[in-house]
């Protein structure tokens, strides 16, 4: 048997940024790897913890309550250098809602306060009085689509779609810098700002979005895409074993039907 693969996950602020069921993403990554006999190591990093250089293949950063976000934002500045460094070297990152916002340049609240981000993403968020709360359905950007078609090992090609379905709940409106591509285009819902039809962001292998739900359990193609990308760094191109994702796709379709 070939060497046993290990996926090293860094779970950012799991004790503080845990409000919207985003832990489902970690559960999905863990299970999809375990089923394939890929070993998963998860290290939690919260306030005052140091992120080691070059240690992690995949970072996850979820959403939290507004007040907590200020506290986390401050602490994140101390982790900035090693986190950005890891992304520059190809590590994968998935950030959602509050996590996504803190990785941008800044967040300006409705009352005019500015919360500094770490500027991994060339983007910023403006607070608004309108809360965008609904199912969010997007079509992935073309380059991601093409990669997913290569990577996702489906048994049944008919099952594969190149959209994502989740649930958004935010009042911040995110605007992307000129050189960055969104994660996808909104089919239904608000997305980044409810104005320009973009949703999320991609920079190298770092992704940000407003998709709770939890996202990865019912978007198994995207889950596998992140796993393969994260392993690639250490092990070169990996062919993932196909799994029976029939329940996952049913959940995906049922959620779209309710959108």
């Amino acid at each position: 048997m070939a060497q046993k693969l290990i996926l090293r996950i860094c779970y950012l602020y799991p004790d503080l940024m845990d409000t919207y069921g985003d832990i489902g993403n970690i559960i999905a990554l863990k299970k999809r790897c375990a089923t394939r006999n890929i070993k998963v190591e998860i290290v939690n990093k919260s306030l005052n913890d140091k992120i080691e250089k070059d240690k992690f293949d995949l970072f996850f950063f979820g959403g939290g309550q507004d007040k907590i976000q200020i506290l986390v934002g401050k602490d994140l500045q101390k982790k900035r250098e090693n986190l950005i460094n890891s992304i520059e070297k190809g590590a994968v990152l998935l950030s959602i809602c509050g996590g996504y916002q803190l990785l941008q340049k800044y967040f300006r609240t409705v009352s005019g306060e500015t919360i500094k981000g770490i500027g991994l993403f060339d983007a910023h968020t403006e607070g608004s009085d309108e809360r965008m709360i609904q199912n969010l359905w997007i079509d992935l950007s073309k380059n991601i689509k093409d990669e997913i078609k290569e990577i996702y090992p489906t048994v049944d090609k008919k099952q594969l779609t190149t959209d994502l379905i989740g649930f958004e709940n935010h009042s911040g409106k995110t605007y992307l810098g000129k050189n960055l591509k969104p994660l996808g285009t909104v089919i239904k819902g608000a997305g980044n700002n409810g104005e320009d039809k973009t949703e999320g962001i991609r920079y190298k292998n770092a992704f940000g979005c407003y998709l709770h739900g939890a996202l990865l359990p019912k978007n198994p193609h995207f889950a596998d895409y992140l796993i393969a990308k994260a392993l690639e760094r250490r092990y070169g191109q990996i062919k993932l074993e196909p799994l029976d994702d029939s329940i996952e796709w049913q959940a995906h379709k049922a959620a779209i039907k309710r959108t």
């Binding site: 004790d15 503080l16 845990d18 409000t19 919207y20 069921g21 985003d22 832990i23 489902g24 559960i27 999905a28 299970k31 309550q65 507004d66 007040k67 907590i68 506290l71 809360r131 709360i133 609904q134 199912n135 649930f167 709940n169 709770h212 739900g213 939890a214 359990p217 019912k218 029939s246 329940i247 996952e248 049913q250 959940a251 379709k253 049922a254 959620a255 309710r258």
Partner: protein, 459 residues
């Protein structure tokens, strides 16, 4: 005579009458129409209630606590109560309409209101409260209520305005609720659990209070019972849990959905054996007992009444169909659902039907099932089926929790397989139904079709 009020009442009465003719159970509609005509309808009616109101609010436990209070106080007062659980302003208006004469005369001298946490500020100012009970605040339907912090902030505002004569009953073990004490002008009385640990399996922690609500520093816990409920203290300011006025200790959770404990009221201890399961019901019982304490009634009555109490509609309700036992546990948010799962994990060979809907009253966001610790029952399951508008999301959640679920046991909306499941169950088996709120109402209809004891749910 107040013409606007009178017209509102007549329109409300007519609506209620028409609804009865139609056989519809829409309990909020008469109140809604009356409030459209007279926005002060509830306020005006409340002035006719001699002793004012007792208000119960919080994320979890409102219905059960209110029913306990009703039982405890029904000898002392004539109570008007929104028992059907319609807990917005319109639900209160409907309750007044249904319990008054056409002239607006009420056969009650106190009102008991179970109130939705989002509309609590509005209702407190309209109903002349004698006592307000604040049970807990957890993340719940984030799509509708927003975050826990924002609800608590809205509560602070009305607490400052409340008269000194009002009793404020607080859960000492919920730091978010306890932090409201300093805003309360009235007399605050607290309840809590004195044990150092809870002998139930551990679940994922879904704490919504991470920092000291008083100073923002790290909040430490010497005991965690559930989510952020427990014994807490802040190292930087004086904020900490104190010994509550009414407390429970020596909690034992037993198989067969029973609980025993010692209740301590004003330093007087009594042992209780209850036909109620779960930690959450202990808190409900403590809250109701604290209300009782403020009423200065002989405490032997309290103990007798608590022993008898078994359940509130759908919160933990058991009944029989064709000789098979069925128990319903409402699930609606992670803190509540985790407590239910801990409670049922004490049993073996579970037969489960879980129903997940995403209608407005359930919350349209089903993310919360991922904050819910289905893993702890995985090894206890004998058979499992899922249903509801988001049955596949739930099926997926169970799959990732390590539960063996066949695709054949995932049912579509409104096609609940209760009859089918109980047919295949052994005579000694029990079916546990875990529905979300609107699914509970649908389950109720399905069960009354199946059951010869029609109207069992009318209670």
């Amino acid at each position: 005579m107040d013409l606007r009020f009178t017209i509102a009442l007549i329109v409300g009465k007519l609506t209620a009458f028409l609804l009865i003719l139609k056989g519809s159970g829409a309990t909020a509609a008469p109140g809604l129409y009356a409030l459209n005509i007279d926005p002060d309808f509830v306020k005006k009616f409340s002035q006719r209630v001699h002793f004012g109101s007792i208000i119960v609010s919080g994320t979890n436990g409102k219905t059960t606590t209110s029913r306990l209070i009703y039982n405890l106080l029904s000898e002392k007062y004539k109570i008007i109560h929104n028992r059907q659980g319609s807990n917005l302003l319109r639900g209160l208006a409907s309750t007044f309409i249904n319990n008054s004469s056409i002239l607006g005369k009420l056969d009650a001298n106190i009102a008991l209101w179970e109130v939705d946490e989002a509309v609590l500020p509005e209702i407190v100012t309209s109903t002349n409260p004698k006592t307000v009970v604040l049970l807990n605040l957890f993340r719940d339907q984030l799509d509708r209520y927003g975050e826990v912090d924002s609800i608590r902030k809205s509560w602070q505002k009305w607490l400052i305005k409340i008269p000194r004569s009002t009793n404020i009953i607080l859960n000492e073990d919920d730091p978010g609720i306890k932090s409201l004490e300093k805003y309360a002008k009235g007399k605050s009385i607290t309840f809590g659990i004195q044990d150092k640990e809870i002998k139930l399996p551990k679940t994922i922690n879904v704490s919504d209070i991470k920092r000291c609500p008083n100073c923002g520093s790290n909040l430490e816990f010497s005991a965690v019972f559930s989510a952020h409920i427990g014994h807490y203290y802040c190292n930087y300011c004086s904020f900490r849990r104190k010994i509550p006025n009414v407390s429970a200790s020596g909690l034992v959770f037993k198989r067969g959905f029973k609980t025993s404990l010692t209740i301590n009221i004003n330093k007087k201890k009594s042992k209780l054996n209850l036909n109620l399961p779960g930690l959450y019901n202990v808190y409900n019982l403590l809250a109701a007992s604290t209300v009782f304490l403020t009423e200065k009634i002989d405490s032997s009555k309290l103990i007798r009444s608590l022993q008898k109490f078994s359940s509130a509609f759908g919160r933990y309700q058991s009944f029989e169909i064709n000789g098979k036992k069925i128990i319903i546990f409402l699930i609606k948010n992670p803190a509540g659902a985790n407590e239910v799962l801990r409670t049922i994990s004490l049993e073996d060979n579970l037969n489960i039907l879980a129903i997940l809907n995403d209608k407005i009253a359930d919350g349209t966001d089903v993310s919360w099932i991922w904050d819910t610790n289905w893993e702890i029952i995985a090894s206890k399951i004998k058979s499992v089926s899922v249903s509801g508008t988001r049955s596949w999301d739930l099926a997926n959640r169970l799959k990732y929790a390590g539960v063996n679920l066949s695709n054949k046991n995932v049912y579509k909306q409104n096609n609940y397989p209760i009859g089918h499941i109980i047919k295949n169950m052994g005579t000694k088996d029990t079916l546990l139904i875990l529905p979300t709120y609107t699914a509970l109402l649908e389950t109720q209809k399905n069960l009354s079709k199946l059951s010869s004891q029609e109207k069992w749910h009318k209670n």
